[in-house]
Every structure is written in structure tokens, then in C-alpha cells.
């Protein structure tokens, strides 16, 4: 035993505990992915609500509801951006049975926490994305008679989604890493699993080196996949010329 080197131990741990590592990586990816997707949806929803235009001629009920919604959204964003996710995890996991009488299972609690956390960041990113779209895009849509919602759905949000895709990918990568804090509520993600393997064998350096490589593989792969998606969304670099037939202005209906 004494003669076993660092690499011997790494191989031995992989050999004996690979199902535990794999299980941990699966949970990490699962929580990060679902959390990012739900957080993205929350962000879009809140970003859209926050950019609903108010006209001075609108009635007081609409104005009041929007004002209240904006205050609530601001509180949500500030609270979840302004506190560590590890603390949020403790509060929500141990607080939910006492406050709402629901005991969440660990994975569900993990997904919940990552989702609302991501949502708070995405809400800001989406709002910035909507504001940064050229005013002319809104005006052109309004000028052909599209409503605010039609404009959002058909013209603005597709551009926002494309523009914030890199930021969303960034959130996903952060989530893969930050799920490790969920170990404090015993979610069996990669960090938690690695800690038990390490503890059982008193081989912390070796076990966490394995975890390190696994995190790196996950984040690297996700980054690459997102690059490909971005390029897909940009559409083809070239366009095909259509068969031409002669322009004929006489076709324009005589509306005189």
C-alpha cells in the first residue's frame, strides 16, 4: 500500500467509485440545466413585464398593477443577487417545512434554488437586452399595426434571445460550478459525492482532482455546444438568389 503513487490512487478511486462520480456529475448537470432553463424563462417573463410601456392615458388600475409588479420584481432581484446562494439554500431548505409546510427533496430544492437565483440575474439581462434593441424596430412594427405583444413576440424577443445567448451560456457554466454549494443541503451533486469518496479513503487531493477534471469537461462541452447554437441562430452566411421575373409596377393596385 505504501508504494501507491498519486496516479495509482486516482485510478483506484475511478475504478472503484466511478458510479458515484458519474451520479454526482449527472445531478450537477441536471440541476444546472433545468435551473438555467427555468431561470431563463423567469428572466424573459420579468424582463417583458418590466418593459411594458405605460401611456399617460392608461387607466389607474393598469398603472397601479404595473407599479406593484415592478416593486415586487425589484425586491426579488435585489434579494437574490444580494445574498450568497449557499445561504439561500439553507434558508429555503430548512425554512420551507416551517413556513409553507412542504419538505422538499434535496434535488427539487436544488433545482428550485438555482432557478430563482438564475431568474434574478436573467431578469436584468433580458431587460437590458430589450432596452438595447433599436427604437426603430418597435416603430416599424407599430407602424404596420402590430400591437405591443405582437411586436414583442415576433420582432423584439427573437432578437433579444439571440443577443443574450452568450450571457445565458455564461449563467449555465456558472450554475454547473455553483451547484457545488448545494452540498450544504446534502444534494448528491458532484462536489458532495466527491467529498464522501475522499472522506472514506482519506484521499482528498486525488478525489478532488478527479472532480476538477469532470467539472472542466462539463463546462468546456457546454461552452462549445452554445457556440454552435449561436451560429445556427445566425442563419446561413449566404442567401440563394431566387428565379427572377420582370418587375412590373402596373401590378400595384390602382387605389385612386
Amino acid at each position: 500500500m505504501e508504494s501507491m503513487s498519486f496516479f495509482d490512487w486516482v485510478l483506484k478511486l475511478i475504478n472503484e467509485y466511478w458510479p458515484m462520480f458519474l451520479r454526482g456529475a449527472e445531478n450537477t448537470l441536471f440541476i444546472a440545466l433545468i435551473g438555467t432553463v427555468i431561470g431563463f424563462a423567469i428572466g424573459i417573463l420579468l424582463g417583458v413585464i418590466r418593459t411594458i410601456p405605460v401611456d399617460p392615458s392608461d387607466n389607474w388600475l393598469k398603472k397601479g398593477i404595473l407599479k406593484l409588479a415592478n416593486i415586487l420584481i425589484n425586491v426579488y432581484v435585489e434579494v437574490f443577487r444580494g445574498t450568497p446562494m449557499m445561504v439561500q439554500a439553507m434558508v429555503i431548505y430548512y425554512g420551507s417545512p416551517m413556513v409553507v409546510g412542504i419538505k422538499l427533496n434535496n434535488i427539487a430544492a436544488g433545482v428550485f434554488i438555482v432557478s430563482i437565483n438564475t431568474g434574478a440575474y436573467m431578469a436584468e439581462i433580458v431587460r437590458g437586452g430589450i432596452i438595447s434593441i433599436d427604437k426603430g424596430q418597435f416603430e416599424a412594427a407599430h407602424a404596420i399595426g402590430m400591437s405591443h405583444w405582437q411586436t414583442m413576440r415576433c420582432i423584439i424577443l427573437p432578437q433579444v434571445v439571440r443577443n443574450i445567448l452568450p450571457a445565458t451560456g455564461n449563467e449555465f457554466v456558472i450554475n454547473i460550478k455553483d451547484t457545488s454549494v448545494l452540498a450544504v443541503i446534502s444534494v448528491s451533486e458532484l462536489f458532495f459525492q466527491t467529498k464522501s469518496v475522499a472522506g472514506n479513503n482519506f484521499k482528498y487531493f486525488e478525489a478532488f482532482t478527479i472532480a476538477c477534471v469532470m467539472y472542466l469537461i462539463m463546462t468546456f462541452t457546454v461552452t462549445r455546444i452554445l457556440r454552435v447554437m449561436e451560429r445556427k441562430l445566425d442563419g446561413p452566411q449566404n442567401y440563394d438568389m431566387m428565379q427572377s421575373h420582370t418587375p412590373d409596377v402596373k401590378e400595384v393596385k390602382n387605389r385612386a
Binding site: 401611456d55 392615458s57 433599436d134 426603430g136 424596430q137 416603430e139 416599424a140 412594427a141 407599430h142 407602424a143 404596420i144 399595426g145 402590430m146 400591437s147 405582437q150 415576433c154 420582432i155 427573437p158 432578437q159 439571440r162 442563419g235 442567401y239 440563394d240 438568389m241 431566387m242 428565379q243 427572377s244 421575373h245 420582370t246 418587375p247 412590373d248 409596377v249 402596373k250 401590378e251 400595384v252 393596385k253 390602382n254 387605389r255 385612386a256
Partner: protein, 251 residues
């Protein structure tokens, strides 16, 4: 080519608009007849764009009336989007939808606003894209087109809605000089086809040749209007004369 217009399409009464304490439109009276081509000229800041934008409610006027089909559009109960769909708008900066290709730029409004079936909307879009000579570029994205091509697509997008009138706000001012001609040529053809057009322009030659009526705006009012002949050859006001002298010297 004198045409006879009688039926009024839109009438504006007592229209006013301020930005802060800056009164940009002062008690404007104005009308457009069906089939008429009206050119609006005037120096920078005189309120030409604001008038056009008030007409399709991109800006909310502070007071006055916009009468369309016998009703005042500024009444709170009026359906603003339905009215806007009846007036097309072509912008100086083109404002093509960046997320859609050329064909879909001309289809989306027909499907969403006019509720036309997709295949009928595509046919209509193809028809007007060939009108402006852009039917070969249906699959291209706006970023892949030149300025002149973009503006032609923007015109086709407006035409695809088959509006009662098309409004143009300096459609050639953002173009490189060699592309101005292709856009003006199409606008001229549209004018001859009988389309009702309201054009804010600095192209005096175009106004002279194509307009049925020329409107000169100065500091928030319509100072003078008449046939191109009247405005360009016998302007009544000193300020009109000075403006025209400046413009014609540049050309």
C-alpha cells in the same frame, strides 16, 4: 399629369404637439386626398417628421383631430392598431426587422395584423417585392443588403399591407448618392400607379416632378402650399423663397 382628387382620405384639424415647452406643431390644418402625392418640404427642425409621426400616432398629438373615414382617431375609444395598419410608413433608417429575412419582413404584418393565411401573404409579399425589384433577394437577411436595397424592401413591406396611403420620412437621406436614384425611381412609379403618398423630402427635383401638391413647413406651421408650379416658381413668402434658394444652390 393633373389628376382629379375629390375624396378626402385623412383630414387634420387644429393639430398641436409640444416636446416639453417646445411647441413643434402649432394648430396644423392639413388633408390628403385619395390618389394624391403630397410632398412636405421645409428646413431642419420645422416639424416635418413630427407631423408624419403624429399622423400614424407614433407620436401622440397634444390636441386637435385626425379625421379618417368620418371618425376622429384621437378619440380614446378608437382602435389605433387597425388605423395604423391602413397607413404604411417608410423610415429614413429603413428599420427592417433584423431577425427576419426579406420575405418574412413583408409577411409578418399581413399574418399578424391582417390575419391573412400564410400562403396568401407570401404571394402578396412576392408580388410587391417584384414591384420594387427585390424578389430575387427573398431569402436574404437585412444585414446582407445595401442601403438602397433595404429601402426598397421597406417599401415592399409597406405595400404588402395594401394600405390606403404610404408615408415616407426622408426615404433617401441615409443613402449613398449612387443609391438615391433607384429608390426615387420606384417611388415615382408608385406615384404614377395611383398610390396615395405623403413624402417628407429634401429632393426638390423629385417634389417638382412627382408631387400633386407641395407643402412648405416652417417653424411648426404650414406656411404655404400649392402645386409644384406655384411653390417652386411663384412662392408667396420670403421664407419659402430663401429656403428654395438654399436648397437649389446645393443641388
Amino acid at each position: 399629369m393633373p389628376k382629379s382628387h375629390s375624396e378626402t382620405l385623412i383630414e387634420i384639424r387644429h393639430l398641436s404637439k409640444s416636446f416639453g415647452n417646445h411647441e413643434v406643431l402649432k394648430d396644423i390644418h392639413f388633408h390628403v386626398d385619395r390618389g394624391e402625392v403630397v410632398c412636405i418640404i421645409g428646413s431642419s427642425g420645422s416639424g416635418k417628421s413630427t407631423l408624419l409621426r403624429c399622423l400614424n400616432l407614433l407620436e401622440r398629438p397634444d390636441g386637435g383631430e385626425i379625421i379618417y373615414e368620418g371618425k376622429n382617431i384621437l378619440d380614446a375609444k378608437m382602435n389605433v392598431t387597425a388605423y395604423r395598419a391602413k397607413l404604411g410608413m417608410v423610415f429614413q433608417q429603413f428599420n427592417l426587422f433584423n431577425n427576419l429575412n426579406v420575405l418574412d419582413n413583408c409577411v409578418v404584418g399581413q399574418v399578424q395584423v391582417l390575419k391573412r393565411p400564410k400562403n396568401q401573404a407570401v404571394q402578396t409579399a412576392e408580388k410587391y417585392l417584384s414591384t420594387v425589384g427585390m424578389n430575387q433577394f427573398m431569402q436574404a437577411r437585412p444585414s446582407q443588403l445595401s442601403g438602397g436595397q433595404k429601402q426598397r424592401v421597406a417599401i415592399a413591406r409597406g405595400l404588402s399591407m395594401e394600405p390606403d396611403a404610404l408615408l415616407f420620412d426622408e426615404p433617401t437621406s441615409a443613402l449613398d448618392p449612387e443609391m438615391v436614384g433607384e429608390v426615387l425611381k420606384i417611388m415615382k412609379q408608385l406615384a404614377e400607379s395611383g398610390l396615395t403618398m405623403l413624402v417628407v423630402t429634401h429632393e426638390m427635383q423629385f417634389a417638382r416632378e412627382v408631387a400633386d401638391r407641395v407643402v412648405f413647413m416652417d417653424d411648426g406651421i404650414i406656411l404655404e402650399e400649392g402645386t409644384p408650379q406655384e411653390i417652386f416658381n411663384q412662392p408667396k413668402h420670403e421664407r419659402t423663397r430663401n429656403f428654395l434658394k438654399r436648397m437649389l444652390n446645393q443641388e
